[in-house]
Symmetry: C2
Subunit: 354 residues, 2 copies
DNA sequence: TTGAAAGCGCTAACAC
DNA sequence: GTGTTAGCGCTTTCAA
């Protein structure tokens, strides 16, 4: 395939020792300006790029210049945004990202994935699973083992049993505010659709929703938080069930969707059923994805600032990897932004007869 | 951070030579069942994972088990699907993917990116830039250099000056058919929106559109293929211009959008202007993304089978990397699927008075 | 300031 | 079968 060039080839051509070439490459030790120039000229002319594997072999220094990104498959825009921002930030700092996808709808061994990360001696790992993964019992063990080899930052609410840095959105409170927002517009029958069944007690969204229902004294019917899923299709189905399971007086006047994607499906189904949004049913999504402003009507939603978190995570990771002594982990909580558009019906004002 | 384990540690504990541990690890040479078991037990117990960098250093054999993926930032669903499928397929075959994003809306040096790939001695590279990148004059040089170091497969129409394997959708013909489809429904004034300005002559979509306009004798006004872009917003703007630049009798009765995303924006703007789709204006998108079936009305679009291409590409790459002699490159052309939903107005039948 | 040489962790000839 | 040993390409003491 290709004749591999080494520092020896460069050294020979420049008439210097390999170590001198190495010094020019790393820029660490002192080399006379003249030699440096001469060697650099040959490196440039030959398009020589040092073998990273060889450099990485050196002891004590993690220098693979690679950050592992562990996240669910990038089929949704939320993960895409994080991956994109993380890769961009990493590149800006001279690093690349190695993507470890957690297959959706297929079982996998998180331990095996962690082995891969370790095997590659990465400089750090970014975990972004969020609520989706909370349920896995084997996650803490695997991530803790990973942490013995490299710094780990999670873009996720804190996970019990894992002692890494967490970049966390206080979604619970924001969801609470969203329900409260609907409450103030007059809604007393607000349903929550989407999400994982197993997540109902643990997920931040569900927590916020359930707390609001309790504290605001809203109608609490099992159907109002019964059905799960993460796709547009699951949004369709959820709405279908929601309106077929409930009797006339108990139909929800507002819907809180797990994500904008779920809301998208819900919107479609409501349209099919001839219900107007927000006049008949108000709806609020979550994620502020690229299509949120383009639905009919434009979706009121929550912006998680995922790009910003991704950048913070990468920076933190790279800083940690340079420290000799591990930095203590911390949890950073930030409030997401509640973005009011038209689907929640603010322009309709407070209504009494819902 | 962590006490790194080596095969020597395992060897010592097992009371065998390091090479025996290596043999167990690779499974290449013969080891007695008894020793193999003993060694394996220790490897398992200690969770030992061999350093990939060291393995990769070996010449001729055992590469990095990593495929580089070069593509625009994964902000759209098209790239996301390719990345996702490629990573999944790679993993299935024991490989990981290293993502090299081409920043959107920011200048970058493709040569530098290629250097990174080479430096990392990857087993292969998947390039998926498509029409977006055709314009760059430095691309062929960079990719050709890359090909001296590793096999390259491009999910893209063939690019002049690059002699790699191309997995190509005959989008041109499909777009032609789409325009023809509109023609048969009665449309004579079909506009094309989105895409890059520089792409107008080279891009497959534009080619197909222009050929259809010519061959079918459709109305050809500069405004009908004037404005570009790849975002939903650019779709909005394009429609706005399209309808403000043309006089009453010259308003298009149909719109072909560069992508579903562009179509999404167009849909929004048409709605704002009080135009009905497909009654007043028919519209066809491209990509068959997850939201295509959820727009109002559901979008008629084109499915590029990107996941399938991604899997093919990865397989081809891995096969090539195992060959000692390079396989001759080829170009595989596949017809995309034309997916008819409601936005093109088929259910309205053929109309004469458009 | 530069060169020689000893590894880094692993694999693969080559002995035994 | 299993151990010994020489690299893979690079960095980094340690001399000179």
């Amino acid at each position: 395939m290709a004749e591999k060039m080494t520092i020896y080839d460069i050294a020979r051509e420049a008439g210097v020792a390999p170590s001198t070439v190495s010094r020019v490459l790393t820029g660490h030790s002192n080399v006379s300006a003249k030699t440096r120039e001469k060697v650099q000229a040959i490196i440039d002319r030959r398009h020589f790029t040092p073998n990273l594997a060889a450099q990485a072999l050196e002891q004590n220094k993690q220098r693979t210049k690679t950050i592992g990104v562990i996240m669910p498959e990038v089929t949704d825009h939320y993960s895409g945004k994080i991956l994109c921002a993380a890769t961009r930030e990493a590149r800006r700092l001279g690093y690349e990202t190695l993507l470890f996808q957690l297959p959706i709808g297929e079982k996998y061994d998180i331990g095996e994935i962690v082995d891969q990360l370790i095997r590659r001696r990465l400089d750090g790992a970014l975990y972004s699973g969020g609520v989706l993964e909370v349920v896995r019992a084997d996650l803490p063990g695997a991530l803790n083992r990973l942490m013995e080899y490299m710094p780990l930052v999670a873009i996720s609410p804190p996970i019990a049993g894992i002692n890494c840095t967490f970049l966390h959105n206080d979604l619970e409170t924001t969801i609470y505010h969203a329900v409260q927002h609907l409450y103030m517009l007059g809604h007393r029958r607000t349903a929550f659709i989407g999400g994982a069944r197993t997540m109902r007690d643990s997920g931040a969204r569900a927590c916020g929703y359930l707390r609001a229902v309790r504290e605001l004294g809203l109608t609490d019917i099992p159907s109002y938080h019964g059905e799960g899923g993460f796709t547009a299709e699951s949004g369709e189905i959820a709405v279908l069930r929601l309106f077929s399971e409930t009797s006339a007086g108990h139909r929800p006047s507002a819907i809180l969707a797990f994500s904008d994607l779920v809301a998208l499906g819900a919107l479609k189904q409501l349209h099919v059923m001839g219900l107007q949004v927000p006049e008949d049913v108000a709806i609020i999504g979550c994620d502020n994805t690229f299509f949120s402003a383009y639905t009919l009507p434009p979706l009121t939603t929550i912006d998680l600032y995922s790009e910003e978190r991704a950048r913070t995570a990468v920076n933190e990771l790279i800083n940690c990897s340079k420290e000799s002594t591990p930095k203590p982990p911390f949890t950073l909580v930030r409030a997401p932004a509640f973005i009011v558009r038209e689907s929640c019906g603010v322009m309709l004002g407070r209504r009494e007869n819902l």
